[in-house]
Amino acid sequence: MQPAPALQKTPLNEVHRAANAKMVDFGGWDMPVQYSGILDEHHTVRNAVGLFDVSHMGEIEVRGPQALNLVNWVSTNNAAKLQVGQAHYSALLYDHGGFVDDILVHKVADDHFFLCVNASNQDKDYAHIVENNRFDAQVENAGPRLSQIALQGPKALLTLQKLTKTELAPIKYYWFQDGEVSGTPARIARTGYTGEDGFEIYAANSEAPRLWNELLQAGEEFGIKPAGLGARNTLRLESAMALYGHEIDASINPIEAGLSWIVKLEKDFLGKPKVAEMKAAGAKRKLAGFQMKGRGIGRDGYELHIDGAPAGWVTSGGPSPTLNINLGLCYVPVDKSGVGQPIQILIRNQPVDAELIPTPFYKRAK
């Protein structure tokens, strides 16, 4: 038997351990799943502000006169529409139309794009982009030198503003600015994975522990707390945001995942013929939201039945701390995907009643 490879650590690993966080193996990374408790951290993000170490996420820089051509060839959304300082959600696809990954594309300059990709996919994504670089663009796997800290919640802006001269209020949702946070160069993006207002801050690894501590101090008056991957998951699930390996993977096409809005068929990209084909013919299955009606919690991977026959599976499920119900996302046949459709989820081999409901489950008041 091969010994398990050592877990990868972010520059904040010691900080988490010193704070007594509960650590878990998350796709090969030693990451905090919780500090004070998932429910407490979840509510803190919804009501005040939480701080997440997401340095395990990958970053890929694409530069040069051909940068746009490469980004637009490997990703589904139309990066030609981005202005400098703007970001959008997109996807890398295989020829067969399945997901390599879901990503964020930031346009730094006409000849410079910055991609944020999933932690456990970063090496695969980098190889995929390099392999399809028929444009002579420069591609750098920047994950190993960059840390990412997510500051999320209604008090995120007030917290971060104390540490930066960059005026944050004018930065719109899914826009970013390069500036300084606590005197260190940082990319400040108004993005997030929680359904709340907030920022994702990219900076050099060496600066991450100091930034982390100064953000915690700055947010103290607002009740800031560090939050782990447990709360990150309950928050993104309430907002019905996809998680690679759950709602999307190599076997899922963006049309099925309800992500046709990030697929721009007016341009060419890898995987386009298959996606166009499915869009024209219509998907057979569709991602939908459900709420448990009977006692029990439908969880990731549980099988589901409709009219007594196997009909799909739960991609992510669990308790919703904000709504106080048990809910989740699932794949069901398109003709059975309407709101109100009764389904049964097999929980320890017992069918338990649930019903399809609209997504997102939670939307913050503007």
């Binding site: 509960k22 408790g37 998932i38 429910l39 998951n233 006692r295 029990g296 919690i297 308790p319 320890r348």
Partner: protein, 125 residues
């Protein structure tokens, strides 16, 4: 931390014996490892449970964990308070948040269980 009048399993359950009735729960270590408990699934009174077999389950926000019965017997009563307030398991696992009471089938099985001191040393505390 671990009351001396309880007996413990390596799967982190406890049992309190009074005559031929055993009250079963999960340990403080178990609730701490699970985190915020949001759901408890218990057997119906009258069900027979077997030593080492699944008695029910507790679920935290993130995970499902089976509960194994420390002994064999018939379920006399279940703690229905936990249905509406499973978070009590985080607050008082050795007391108010007991799970089930059972009629012991074989008191001899108790000798296989750990004392408080042995359980604590098993945990390495």
């Amino acid at each position: 931390m671990y009351p001396e009048n309880l007996k413990y399993t390596k799967e982190h359950e406890w049992i309190l014996v009074a005559g031929d009735t055993g009250t079963i729960g999960i340990t403080d270590h178990a609730q701490h490892e699970l985190g915020d408990i949001v759901y408890v699934d218990l057997p119906k009174p009258g069900t027979t449970v077997e030593k080492g077999k699944t008695l029910g389950s507790v679920e935290s926000v993130k995970a499902v964990s089976d509960i194994y019965s420390p002994v064999t017997g018939e379920v006399l009563e279940v703690n229905t308070d936990l249905t509406a307030a499973p978070e009590k398991l985080n607050a008082d696992p050795h007391g108010a948040a007991w799970l089930v009471k059972i009629k012991l089938a074989d008191a001899g099985e108790l000798s296989d269980l750990l004392t408080a001191a042995a359980y604590q040393s098993y945990l390495g505390e």
